[in-house]
């Protein structure tokens, strides 16, 4: 499918760019960036009604990245969408830069400052309530980690969002099953996610988190009228780089020169293979 091919190519290029940014900055949350980049690709290229021109429009769609540590993925997508020149990514994590290691509003396109976990869903609940109060047409999206769901504030907001029937709110769980110290199931099990969210009054759908068609299908409309939506995206931490996939140490691992060259070679090979196939 032409559309799908376009998104796959874009994601491969995003992966190359976010690895370059991390390598250049000497810091970054590589594993999570790679697990959520396909979700961000779909959001910013297919779902969100927001652009540099409409970013100050009160009716724009809003995206708050609750798992703020995966900021390199966000920066790369925002640069691609024209929110700021890509050269600015050279300054990520540098002294005096607006490009901090977690999202800040100093960077065009960033809605809210995040980084401490468990903040995105309450913020988005507030935005969604404002949308309902104003009868505004916008939708609000947030990206959570499965490890992040141990933060109790998520469940305070989950209760409130269902209480107010916020069908203009969609949470996406980047369910890569790993966190900094190991498997989420071992550190603090957040499953069964469908049952938890459903019992809080949310409409739930679990999708393969690197399947563009499935992501678009789950995100293009609220899942159910009168309920907030949650899309549990089954993802792979470190997705797309063979030696990074499902390895907890890549949570915030920065590739050395050799690892970087191998990673880029893998992505280049995938891009060539895809470009070799006629559309």
């Amino acid at each position: 499918m032409r559309e799908e091919r376009e998104l796959i190519l874009k994601s491969l290029r995003y992966r190359k760019e976010l690895l370059r940014v991390i390598k250049n900055a000497g810091a970054g949350h590589t594993g999570g960036d790679l697990s959520c980049i396909d979700i961000l690709n779909v959001l910013y290229n297919r779902i969100l009604r927001v652009s540099p021109k409409t970013f100050s429009d009160p009716n724009r769609d809003r995206y708050v990245q609750s798992k703020g540590h995966c900021v390199e993925a966000l920066y790369v997508v925002l640069a691609d969408r024209g929110f700021f020149p890509a050269e600015e990514l050279e300054t990520v994590c540098r002294h005096g830069s607006a490009f901090v290691g977690h999202p800040t509003r100093k960077v065009p396109g960033v809605e809210q400052n995040t980084g401490a976990l468990g903040h995105g869903l309450p913020l988005c609940t507030g935005m969604a309530i404002a949308g309902k109060l104003d009868g505004a047409p916008y939708r609000v999206f947030t990206l959570l980690g499965d490890g992040e769901l141990a933060e109790g504030s998520n469940w305070e907001a989950a209760m409130a969002a269902a209480h107010y029937g916020l069908d203009n709110l969609t949470a996406i769980v980047d369910c890569n099953t790993l966190q900094i110290s190991g498997h989420t199931a071992d550190v603090m099990n957040s499953e069964p996610l469908e049952a938890k969210w459903a019992s809080f009054g949310w409409a739930v759908r679990r999708v393969p988190g690197h399947d563009f068609g499935a992501l678009i299908g789950a995100l293009e409309h609220p899942l159910e009228k009168g309920k907030p939506s949650v899309v549990v995206a089954n993802t792979t931490k470190g997705k797309g780089i063979s030696f990074m996939e499902n390895v907890a140490k890549w949570h915030h691992g920065v590739p050395n020169d050799d690892e970087y060259a191998r990673a880029i070679a893998e992505l280049d090979a995938a891009i060539s293979a895809l470009e070799g196939v006629p559309a």
């Binding site: 809210q112 400052n113 995040t114 903040h119 507030g126 404002a130 907001a157």
Partner: protein, 333 residues
């Protein structure tokens, strides 16, 4: 039936207040609720967010008259502040109303990140602040709120001393472009002498004097004012009284002028002696190179004694008599 609340003031203090022509008004909390109601009436963008605190915040009439402008979050202070920040980011004028003890401790990270750091201009309203809850005990006291908020950039910290300061503070907070923390108690207060307009970052000179100075904030200001009058009559001391409604921005000029002019300076607050107005003034005065007789009247670093707000104030000398003793002790050292 509960026993009648003991008065904040001794018979002698009440007599002195009458002599000064001061009139007892209502609690700042009531003044806040009415001011907010008036704001909501003229601006549909004004929204109150509550954490099962509608009753304790005196927001019953607000909820009845403007049901679409009040958002209940249940007993969930973290979510209260996060939601308030989200509402503010979408253009609402948001008053997040919750007991000061929970608002500034339970939800401190939300205040730090979602409100202050993200620069969402929420008005954080800490109700029943200080030791207003009295005998309910330390879980319900907020003796830390100035300290923690002073260490967080981008929140104004305001503790009004009477109904006038409350009304003005609420109106200013509603149009502020950056976050504001307001703190109120629930005991009736005397109306302080008028002392010009109310501005954030401006101390109000309630009484001139160049021998000594009280620099007081919030609901302790009246006790400092009565103590100054008492000291004049008993000891012939001319004692300046500054009401400092905003701990931040602090009126550094007024504090430094008092420190330069007067031989002794006592700060007064319904807060821990650590990290509040007193230590803010101490740092200011020390950094200016001034060596002055200096005292901080507040709640000491100990397990707070049980009692009503009035009994706790008396126990720790936050009264006309206690403050007068503190000042004369300092001056005779």
């Amino acid at each position: 039936m509960s026993a009648p609340a003991p008065s904040m003031h001794s018979a002698a203090a009440k007599t002195r207040a009458e002599k000064l022509g001061l009139r007892l008004e209502r609690a700042n909390l009531d003044e806040f609720a009415d001011t907010l109601l008036a704001l909501a009436r003229t601006d549909a963008n004004v929204v109150a967010v509550t954490s099962d605190s509608r009753g304790s915040g005196k927001l019953g009439p607000f909820g009845q008259q403007h049901p679409k402008q009040i958002v209940e979050m249940g007993i969930a202070e973290q979510n209260l502040v996060g939601v308030a920040a989200g509402l503010a980011s979408a253009g609402k004028i948001v008053f997040a109303v919750s007991p000061a003890c929970f608002l500034t401790a339970r939800a401190l990270e939300q205040i730090k990140n979602d409100v202050a750091y993200s620069d969402n201009p929420v008005v954080l309203v800490g109700i029943s602040a200080g030791v207003s809850y009295g005998a309910l005990g330390s879980t319900h006291h907020s003796l830390h709120d100035f300290a923690v908020l002073r260490a967080i950039h981008n929140v104004a910290i305001v503790a009004p001393a009477d109904n006038f300061e409350t009304r003005e503070a609420v109106r200013l907070a509603a149009v502020a472009e950056t976050p504001v923390y307001l703190r109120f108690g629930k005991a009736p207060l005397y109306r302080l002498p008028s002392a010009g307009t109310f501005e954030l970052g401006r101390a109000r000179l309630l009484r001139p004097g160049s021998d000594a100075a009280f620099v007081a904030t919030g609901e302790t200001v009246i006790h400092a004012l009565l103590a100054a009058d008492f000291l004049k009559e008993r000891n012939g001391i001319e004692c300046r009284v500054l009401s400092v409604p905003s701990i931040r921005p602090l009126d550094t000029g007024a504090v430094l002028d008092a420190a330069r002019t007067c031989r002794a300076l006592v700060t007064v607050e319904e807060h821990s002696v650590h990290g509040g107005l007193g230590e803010a003034c101490a740092a200011l005065i020390a950094e200016a190179g001034l060596a002055r007789r200096f005292g901080i009247a507040g709640l000491p670093d100990e397990d707070t004694v049980t009692g009503s707000q009035a009994e706790i104030f008396r126990h720790y000398g936050l009264t006309m008599e206690g403050l007068a003793e503190k000042m004369t002790g300092l001056m005779s050292r």
